[in-house]
Structures are given as C-alpha cells and as structure tokens.
Symmetry: C2
Subunit: 313 residues, 2 copies
C-alpha cells in the first residue's frame, strides 16, 4: 500500500492542526486497508484517488472478494464557503465562516452472512465563528450490523467501544453508545440499524490534543473490535437461505443511508463525489414486500434480540 502520490493534500490553506489530521487520516486509511487486505485472499484493494474543486481524496475499494463482497476505505479532505445543513445536527450552532473537513470512512460488506457489516468514521472540521475565531470539532464512531446475532460478538464489540472511551472519561462510553442507538435508527421500521457502538459529533470538550488522542484510540479499537469477529464468523458454513436473508436485510442499510444518514446527505448536498459517498451501498440487495421472518427462526431472533438497544457490557 503506497501513500497518495498524486495528492498534494497539504496545499489546502488550513491550519497546522488540519494538516496534522490530514496526515494522520492518510496513515489510518493505509492501516485499515492493510487489515482488510490481510483477511482477503483473492482480491486486491484498488486505490482510486480523485481531485475536484471542493477538495481531494482517495477511495480504497475491494470488490467481489472471497471474504468481502465489498470494502470501501475512503479518505477525503475538502473545503467550502459555508457548512451544509446536514453537517451538524439540528441543535448545534453553525459556524459562519468557510470550513475545512477531513476524515476517513469505512464500510465493509462481508460475503458470509454470519459476518456482520461494519461502518467506521472519524472526521475533523475547522471553521470560524462570528467573531472570526477558529473553531474545530471532531466526529465519528463505529457500529456493527449483524445479519445473525451472537451475544459474545456483541459483548466483544461493545467492550472495545468502551475501552476506546474509558481513558478519556467514564461518561463517554454511555453517552456515545446512547447517541449511536439514537442515530442508527430507522423510524419507519422501528428498528435500530444494528447493535450500535459509538457515535459522537461536535466533540471538542477535551481540547485539541486530548480529542486527537481520543480519535486515535477510537480508530485503534475499531480495528481490534472488527477483525476477530471476521476471523471467527467467516469460517461458518451457510446456504442460500442465509444469503437471501442477508440481501434482504441489506435493504435496510440502503434505506438508512439514503433516508437518514447525515454523512451521505452532507456529501450529496455539498456536491461531493457521488461514487465515493455511495461506496457505502451494499453490492447485492433484495427488496421484498411485507417479509416477516418465521416465528422462532434465527432470522426472527435478529429482530427481537439484536435490533433493539441493549446494554452489552
């Protein structure tokens, strides 16, 4: 895996802090890509770098693998004149000046229906307030979307999420866990997207250095959280029944991303690069009218035992 040679990422007229984040996120993209590649025997990640008037980025993408049906690891660093509506939640005060945003987004759709889909994101925003003072904040988190639930995986996942937070304050994990359950929720289905994890936004209360250390710890624990689950579940045998259920449930992922996800809406409102934004879409999806899993089935158990907010640690 090479660094982005065609990108001149630090030509953006942002602060030293922003450049520091750019560099960290580029390294993080490589680290996560290397970990994905480690699990995938038959396909190689393709590195697709891009530039536009708004900024630059690189989408690392793996498709049609033995372990991963698709895996996207995206880096982008953009700037704009005014923050789009979807960039912050409705209650947050919007900075008035031009803004800079840099971040890494990961969405992995495994082939084996027993391996859960995952999403990870870390981002940094910088802008100016009405008195022209620089303001910054971090956002991000990670969450897990199983097709078949395993209690031990859920506990492991949330233990890693908690371990990512605890060195920075005991209140962080419960707060960000709750925010994750609230955010990844399909109102029209009364279902959570998955078993949650962490979600935080407009985060700067620890100051820059500690926030940056927190982001690094979240990133590290994402990798520690996901890889063992992939390794454990990828060997489980499955049949067409599980594939059909996986493809049906992927429809919910599509519904969430296009109806609710602020990252997707931010990207598309902002005129971002469509292919990089929609790399999150599952590769093969089935939609089906009025499907309900049979009573007492493993498929029903997903709804009753996993797609509801729970305390896993």
């Amino acid at each position: 895996m090479n660094t982005i040679s065609t990108l001149n990422i630090n030509s953006i007229p942002a602060s030293q802090k922003f450049k520091q984040l750019n560099n960290y996120f580029l390294t993080l993209q490589q680290d996560i890509s290397a970990l994905v590649q480690q699990e995938e025997a038959t396909r190689t990640i393709i590195e697709d770098s891009w530039q536009s008037k708004l900024g630059q980025g690189q989408t690392n993408i793996l498709t049609d693998g033995t372990c991963f049906e698709s895996a996207g690891i995206g880096f982008s660093s953009v700037q704009g004149q005014a923050l789009p509506a979807a960039a912050l939640n409705a209650n947050a005060e919007k900075p008035s000046g031009p803004f800079f945003a840099t971040g890494v987004s990961v969405v992995i759709h495994p082939k084996n229906p027993y391996v859960p889909t995952t999403h990870f994101n870390v981002r940094y925003f910088e802008s100016t307030d009405k008195d022209n003072n620089t303001v910054f904040w971090f956002g991000g988190g990670f969450d897990l979307t199983p097709y078949y639930g395993f209690d031990e995986d859920c506990r492991h996942w949330h233990q890693q999420a908690k371990a990512a937070c605890d060195p920075f304050g005991a209140h962080l994990y419960p707060t960000f866990k709750q925010q994750c359950d609230d955010y990844f929720y399909l109102k029209h289905r009364n279902e959570t997207r998955g078993i949650g994890g962490l979600f935080f936004d407009a985060f700067n209360t620890l100051g820059f250095d500690q926030s940056m250390a927190f982001i690094k710890n979240v990133s590290k624990h994402f990798m520690l959280a996901y890889q063992p689950i992939v390794q454990k579940r990828n060997l489980m045998p499955y049949s067409e029944k599980e594939i059909n259920f996986q493809r049906y449930r992927r429809g919910r992922y599509v519904e969430f991303n296009l109806l609710y996800d602020r990252g997707t809406q931010f990207g598309l409102q902002f005129g971002g690069r469509t292919e990089s934004i929609l790399m999150s879409m599952p590769p093969k999806v089935n939609f089906c009218y009025n499907y309900y899993p049979p009573k007492g089935s493993a498929e029903e158990k997903l709804y009753t035992d996993y797609l509801v907010p729970k305390n896993w640690v």
Copy 2:
C-alpha cells in the same frame, strides 16, 4: 379480482367528491391489476388490504413472475390533521386544515431487461384554506425507465402522454412533460431517471369535473402506453450481461425513491404504511463502485441518448 370487501372506504368524513374519487380509484386499481395479470402467466396478484389510524388501503402485489419480477398496484385513502411538508412542492401555499388524500400508485419492475420499468400515480387531495373553504387538487402522471432504449417505444410513450392531455388544452402536454423531466432528475448523477412522461401537481385549474375527466384520460392512456411495450420487448432474448446492467441501473431507482421522491417522503413523514410505500423498490439490485459502460456499447447509449430530456413527439 374482487373489490375490497374488508374496507369501508366511504366511512371517512370527507365530501361526496372525495367518495367519488375513492370509488373511481378502486375501480382503476382493479383495471390496472387485470392488465398486469393478463401479461403474467405464472404468478397471481395477491391482494393485501390494510387499515390503520390514518386510513385504509389495499396493496395488490405480484412477485417473482415470468414477465414481472415485481408489480405493485396500490390504493390508499387517508386523512390527517395537517398536510406534511413533502405533500406539495416548496412553492405551493399549504392549506391549514385537516386533509384527505386518496390515490393509486403503480410501480412495475419487469424481469426482461429490455422491458422498461414504469411508474404511474394519480391522487386527489382535499382540505380547507384559512377561511375554511374547501380546496382540492389533483396530482399524478406516468413515467418510463428503460434499461435499453428504443426510439419507437419512446415516441409511442410520449404520443400516449400527449393524447392523454390534448383534449384538455394544448399547453398541458409540454408543461407536464417538462415538469416530469425536472422532477425525475437525479442531481447527484446529472441524469434523468428515465425518458419521462407526465408529471403534474396542485392541479385544479379546470374545475372539478374536467380535472376528474383529465385524470381518467391519463389513467386510460397509461395503460395504452405501457402494455404494447411490454408485449413487444418481453420476447427479446437476453443474457447475464443485460441482467447485470438492469440490476445496476435499478440502483438509480432506489437512489431516486429514497433521496428525492416526495411521494415516498410524504408517506414516511406521515407515518404511512412502510411496506405499501416501499413496494416501489426494485426486487434485486446491484450497487457497484464507479461503473461506467464501455464506449460505444448499448449500455452507454442509454446514458447519451435516453437519460437526457428530449422531445419525443
């Protein structure tokens, strides 16, 4: 095909006009369903009627057929205290009182990639203005989404659209054709959803009786427009290549419906019946990072010759 025996559609405390529309739309649902069934040899339409606090309806649905991979013909008749934001376009003045809405929606996803997907909708709204006067309007239209374009089909489609409008005024077809091109447009792709047709909203300038006659003529010409295309293209041989392209392009249908469609957003905002609203989703969909059709291919021709607004008559 039977009428809805379990629904007591005219128990809603709306006007006689509303009841007249309810009855017409129920008959129309049966007529379109009969036409769909006529083309489908191996599967039978299932009639699924429902009731909720908001109203009642019936979803006629055919899945996994030889001709149609899915076909949904939905009727719903609902009422509410205040019109949701997505019910009218942003420029229209919103009535302040409770409202009644009744309509028929059709989305057909054929199996053969040479047969285009189609969407049809007719709807009637009734409410009261700030002086407590009854206001009403109609909306609707039909549009065609081919995977492989045929000029003669596009001409036939738009000739039927024009014939639906012309008896009611020469300006209607060009206006509603333009509105259709504008509405079924994916901004983030700079593509139209298909080759268009008719789209109209907040329509009441002809008065009630003539508007109703117009709605009936639109409905009749939708059936005249679509059935011959199905019959002609359904016999064309196809291979996995065309299936793959169809499933890829169906992703655009998903993007449009969830990101832009006001009917979908109206339904979900309003707390409507999710399964009936999302019956529009294509049954099998593939998403793929950064796909572009090969230069000079039939697939490229779709983009260059058909997914751009054109005068077809």
